[in-house]
Amino acid sequence: MKSYRKYMTSKIAWYILTFVVAVFLNFLLPRLIPGNPVSTIVSKITSGMADTNSIKRVYETFEKEFGLNKPIWEQFMIYVSNLFHGNMGTSFGQYPRKVTDILASSIVWTIGLQLPAIIVSWILGNVLGVLAAYIKKGFDRILFPVFLFISCIPSFGFAIVMVWLFAVVLKIAPASGGYAFDMIPSPTFSFFLSVFQHYQLPFWSIVLVGIGGQSLGMREMSIYELNADYVKYCRLLGLRDSKIVKYVFKNAVLPQITGLALSLGTMVGGALITEIVFSYPGLGSVLFNAIAAQDFPLISGCTLLITTGVLVANFLIDIAYGLIDPRIKVAQRE
């Protein structure tokens, strides 16, 4: 137990170190993109103004507000101390909205779309994978090539095909957005209905692509497990196959938990392309637009959120594995 605590302490120390480095890089890297975002905003605001003096004054005000006139290390100190107060600064591109506000409103969409999609595809993929390995014959002969085909299509390609088929040809689902563009979010039935309709295409395109990859991996693992000696021994003990398949499922699914946690952790980045294809109002679209607008604070905010997600997910994997898998429990103890 003592060495287990030691193991966890050193793990946590590594996670904190990684996080510190990540904060630094998240701050620095967007600011290395060449170009001047402030002048873009200023030229937008001052369009129609003729007086160069007042344009210059506006420019300076903005530079001061964003702290861009200070040396970069001082900017970093301010950034960090603001972070401690939960302040990620003001967006350039969506001025004067706070970065935290933008992130908070868009992450709801992203999580609402991704979390169910990832979990559904993970569960369906694993169940189909183990069944394909166990049933073999016709089931496997049809599903295996289908899985293989789906998993080879890039997700944006798949999303575009979905839009074309269901929105353009069949016209049974809206093509883009999180709700009808002429609506204002409100707790009404018609709004929720619109959200639900807009949800289907992005949701199923993530789910289907996910099932493809997930079930292939699970099928491989299950075939391996089904050939293990314990399966034969259990059969000779007279255990029914449904019980044995449960053992196989548990053992084969353990390594897949890493995949699940990683895709949960990389939810935001993973959704980027799907969200862009469907113009879904989530973090992916926000990050995409922020990069286009050189919106440093917003880019840093998005990437910091993504990094934190990945780190937390990995940390949870480490803990969960130790709890579920006795082999790792023992290894950690030693």
Partner: protein, 341 residues
């Protein structure tokens, strides 16, 4: 006469490979197993011992297929039973198995007690987990196994302990027949002795009624078997009482197996030797004549062509060779010992 628990009649099993080869790994095997007895089966690796074990238990999964013959367990021909009935009524309950590689026979992510519970619940309707625990703890104690093993995962047990645990699990329902396939092969000498003692204990206490003990070391059977069958290339080549087969083998192959332990070579005294040069024939080809003829030091011309049937010396002793017993004994006495390698 004692009750016959297991009767195998002209059993034939075949591996059908992807290349359309038919490997007859168990060929026309017949024997009876009486209550209270331990039958030893010996033969080199690849002679079909494990396949025979699977066939007796009706474990036919591709590429292994049933070809012909019968296996009577408690009067029922299990080769004719649908799999579900075999599983419900026979496996684990009437006949149980200890695998060759008990090291990997346990599901790594399952506590021992949970496997015991699954096995018992499968065969005893409505039994509660508490009852399972009570029965298992009692059984483990009786068999001199620490009962906290039940709360452990397989990885936490040593090789010998794992093997003993597997034996205890396999026999928890007091099956009439136990098939042990090389239960000691992977163990060190000390653990081997403990395991053999445990197996004998099972019969003595009546937890099992009879046993089939499979090994590639014929002399090992002296410690445990009442009767011995020697297997070669899918066939039984000799069968008889344990002392007779070990100390007075008739078949040149049995004789070779015994010599392979007894005769030390100069320089490496006491070391085990491969005294029978060559390897068993490839079973995918149709074999004519005696299957051992390529390696037999006493082979005659007709050995390669005519089919060799079992000959009975008395009703417990038989062998598969065209030569007469006296003829063979004479040759063994002549010192025409098989050459050592």
């Amino acid at each position: 006469m004692a009750e016959i628990l297991l009767q195998v009649k002209n059993l034939k099993s075949v591996y059908k490979t992807r290349f359309n080869e038919r490997i007859i790994a168990v060929d026309d095997v017949s024997f009876d197993l009486e209550s209270g007895k331990c039958l030893g089966i010996a033969g080199e690796s690849g002679s079909g011992k494990s396949t025979l074990a699977m066939s007796i238990m009706g474990y036919y999964h591709p590429p292994l297929f049933y070809e012909s013959g019968a296996v009577y367990i408690s009067g029922v021909d299990i080769t004719k039973l649908p799999y579900n009935q075999l599983r419900e009524k026979i496996l684990g309950k009437e006949i149980a198995y200890i695998p060759q590689a008990a090291m990997n026979a346990l599901n790594p992510t399952q506590k021992i007690i949970n496997l015991v519970a699954d096995v018992m619940k499968e065969h005893v309707k409505g039994i509660s987990f508490n009852d399972v625990k009570k029965i298992a703890e009692e059984r483990f104690e009786t068999l001199n196994l620490p009962k906290d093993v039940l709360q452990r995962y397989p990885i936490e047990l040593s090789g010998g302990m794992k093997q003993r645990t597997v034996i205890a699990i396999s026999t928890i329902l007091n099956p009439k027949i136990l098939i042990a396939d090389e239960p000691t092969s992977a163990l060190d000498v000390t653990s081997q002795k403990i395991v053999i003692k445990l197996l004998k204990n099972l019969i003595k206490r009546g937890f099992i009624k009879a046993m089939v003990f499979i090994t590639h070391e014929l002399p090992l059977l002296y410690n445990i078997a009442d009767d011995i069958m020697v297997m070669y290339a899918g066939e039984i080549v000799e069968s008889g009482k344990a002392e007779e087969v070990i100390f007075d083998p008739i078949h040149p192959y049995s004789n070779g197996l015994m010599n392979s332990i007894i005769v030390p070579e100069k320089g490496i005294k006491g070391k085990k030797l491969i005294v029978i040069p060559g390897a068993p024939p490839n079973l995918k080809y149709k074999l004519e004549g005696c299957r051992f003829s390529d390696r037999c030091l006493y082979a005659k011309d007709e050995c390669k062509t005519s089919k060799v049937n079992m000959k009975y010396v008395n009703n417990s002793r038989s062998y598969r060779c065209i030569s007469q017993v006296d003829e063979l004994k004479e040759m063994y006495k002549d010192g025409k010992k098989p050459a050592t390698t």
